[in-house]
């Protein structure tokens, strides 16, 4: 029995998603708790619908270029750690689609969102249906134990809200990804997203407006984002757990050093990507 939401998602995918993408998606292994949903709310029809809508932005608007996607492990648990910016998490959407497009066999990443996201009406449901999980150690730990590919943004809200003048300067770099990587023996693939940091210029920030728990309300200079070109670069996987026991994940010094290693790798990739591009729109 199909609900109205599932039927709508299916129809969107049938209308907008080319056959090759549908066939590719059919090959993605998705967890199913019995009714077509996993414990976090992921559903295949919704993934197809998000792919159908997102591909227009991915192909036509941001013209995403992928470099080094072969570094993403084809199977098993892994963490993608990327820089984060752009006022709204369009970079996460582009990374999500890029992973699905450029992995063989195709893999669906599980983006990790900030804790306030489940409070947002509509957004929370759409995110959950398309594979996003709220950022907590247990949620991510269980995903890694089940062999999932987790997409993490260690800069968090500080990254997405960074001022234009701070673009491509990594903000606070949380260490949870390194801890989880050591504990769950998962390699970390550093990812640099070039382009997103110029997509939107924030005019002002309404700090006293906390809609549904959001830390602030950003007001953009222009309503649509600039049609910058995205370049997504993947580095070689970092095996942070090499020579470490799972219990070392409780050692703050080891975890910080491992997280700093990931940060350096992302910074190096960002520098490479910025050097290689010919302009923000090309």
């Amino acid at each position: 029995m199909e609900t109205r939401g599932e039927a709508t998602a299916r129809r969107i995918a049938e209308l907008l998603l080319p056959r090759r993408d549908r066939e590719r998606l059919a090959r993605v292994s998705l967890p199913d708790g019995g009714h077509g949903y996993d414990a976090f709310g992921l559903h295949r029809a919704w993934v197809a619908a998000s792919l159908a809508i997102g591909r227009l932005m991915y192909d036509r608007y941001f013209r995403v270029e992928s470099i080094g996607a072969e570094h993403i492990p084809p199977t098993g648990a892994a963490i993608l750690a990327a820089n984060h910016a752009g006022m709204l998490p369009l970079d996460a959407v582009m990374l999500h689609l890029n992973v699905l497009r450029h992995t063989e066999p195709p893999r669906l990443g599980r983006p990790v969102a900030d804790w306030f996201v489940p409070l947002l009406p509509f957004v929370s449901t759409i995110y959950a249906r398309t594979g996003v999980v709220s950022g907590s150690r247990r949620n991510v730990g269980r995903l890694l134990e089940s062999g999932a590919l987790v997409e993490l943004f260690p800069e968090g809200v500080a990254g997405i809200g960074k001022p234009f003048r701070e673009r491509y300067h990594l903000q606070q770099w949380t260490v949870g990804h390194a801890e989880l990587a050591i504990r769950h023996r998962a390699p970390v693939v550093p990812v640099a997203i070039v382009g997103a940091e110029e997509q939107w210029i924030e005019l002002l920030r309404l700090r006293r407006v906390h809609l549904f728990g959001a830390p602030y309300l950003p007001v953009p200079l222009l309503l649509p984002p600039l049609p910058v070109r995205y370049h997504i670069l993947y580095g070689e996987p970092l095996v942070l757990h090499e020579g470490r026991a799972a219990a070392d994940a409780d050692d703050a010094a080891i975890v910080e050093e491992a997280a700093a290693r990931v940060r350096r790798a992302v910074e190096a990739l960002l520098a490479r990507g910025l050097r290689a591009r010919r302009g923000i729109f090309r």
Binding site: M1, E2, T3, R4, G5, E6, G33, G34, H35, Y37, D38, A39, F40, G41, W115, F116, P118, L119, L120, P121, F122, S124, T125, A128, V133, S134, S136, R137, R138, N139, R142, E145, G213
Partner: protein, 334 residues
């Protein structure tokens, strides 16, 4: 093994009694309940006896353990007696939910034959919030907010009472935090919610839920008795689904309504048809959901959900029990 099952006249208690009697290595089962008898129970016989006992009095608990339980050489106690009605509140309800649990534990610890204590707890005792995982492990915080209804507070307090004896009691204690048992008269809030033809949910939210079938609940209790384990285990159900799908499967109409309107609307429903469903109690999970992580039960208890809800049966049962003002009056008169 000889077993005492409290709350034996409830659907879960009676099903546990039947499940125990179906096992060849079960000796004698003593059922205890506040009612004189229940048609759900098997007939009394050589392997089953029933004792009417009001556990809200400590003296009754003492008499039960020192009398029929001692005489039957009961080795294990399965405690499922708890008030199911969300309408019930007050000191007497607390005495059954919490004080009786404490008394049973304390008296069983000094009992000459009892050595296992299995407590049926509730996933509803877990705290649901945006800053805690939606995948709920055994170390998840319990709901201890003072403004919560007694239905929730008692469940959390009773659970903590049992947990506080873990490791210090001579008994082997197992706490089974069961997902919502989706069955009639089992105290399920969702079951009562679905008795209406039109089910309202907050617009913009479609949370994930996990439901437990009676068969799986009974199997978890039997495994807790049989396996040499101790501690707290989440007992997840086979059905993991969003609220909208649940409503559709039961043949109801799902109507998204702005969140702030739901509480007064469901209060009206409660006032007119005497329903059990309390929106206030369910509001966090109607926004954020929460699914039990049953990994520990799988690894240590050997429990994995196997039996889903039979939706056709559920739909028919719900259709028969649709709430109405006339039904409320009849229930009051009865």
């Amino acid at each position: 093994m000889n077993v005492l099952v409290t709350g034996a006249t409830t659907p879960l208690g009676a099903a546990t009694v039947r499940g125990l009697l179906a096992l060849p290595d079960t000796g004698h089962v003593v059922g205890a309940g506040a009612d004189p008898w229940s048609p759900l129970l098997p007939p009394r016989g050589a392997r089953f006896s029933y004792v009417e006992s009001d556990l809200t009095h400590r003296r009754a608990v003492r008499s039960l353990l020192g009398g029929p339980v001692r005489a039957a050489h009961v080795e294990a106690i399965v405690h499922t007696a708890l008030h199911r009605s969300a309408r019930a509140s007050g000191r007497r309800v607390h005495r059954l939910n919490v004080d009786a649990t404490r008394a049973l534990l304390e008296l069983a610890a000094d009992h000459p034959t009892a050595r296992i204590f299995v407590y049926r707890s509730f996933a509803e005792a877990y705290h649901v919030a945006e800053d805690v995982p939606c995948l709920v492990g055994e170390d998840h915080p319990l709901e201890l907010a003072p403004d919560e209804p007694q239905w929730v507070r008692d469940r959390a307090e009773a659970d903590l009472t049992v947990c506080s004896h873990l490791g210090s009691s001579p008994l082997r204690i197992v706490v089974l935090r069961c997902a919502e048992l989706f069955a009639p008269h089992a105290g399920s809030q969702l079951y009562d919610y679905l008795r209406s033809r039109v089910c309202l949910r907050p617009v913009g939210y479609d949370p994930m839920l996990n439901l437990l079938s009676m068969e799986d609940a009974v199997r978890a209790h039997l495994l807790a008795l049989a396996r040499p384990v101790e501690g707290v285990f989440n007992i997840a159900g086979w059905d993991t689904l969003p609220l909208s799908r649940l409503v559709a499967l039961t043949g109801r109409v799902c109507l998204p309504v702005p969140g702030p309107l739901l509480r007064p609307l469901y209060r009206l429903r409660r006032a007119f048809v005497g329903a059990q469903f309390r929106y206030r109690m369910n509001a966090p999970r109607f926004h954020l959901g929460g699914v039990l992580d049953g990994t520990r039960a799988r690894d240590e208890l050997g429990y994995e959900p196997r039996v889903g809800i039979v939706w056709d049966d559920a739909r028919r049962a719900l259709d028969r029990e649709r709430p109405s003002v006339r039904g409320r009056r009849a229930a009051r008169a009865a």
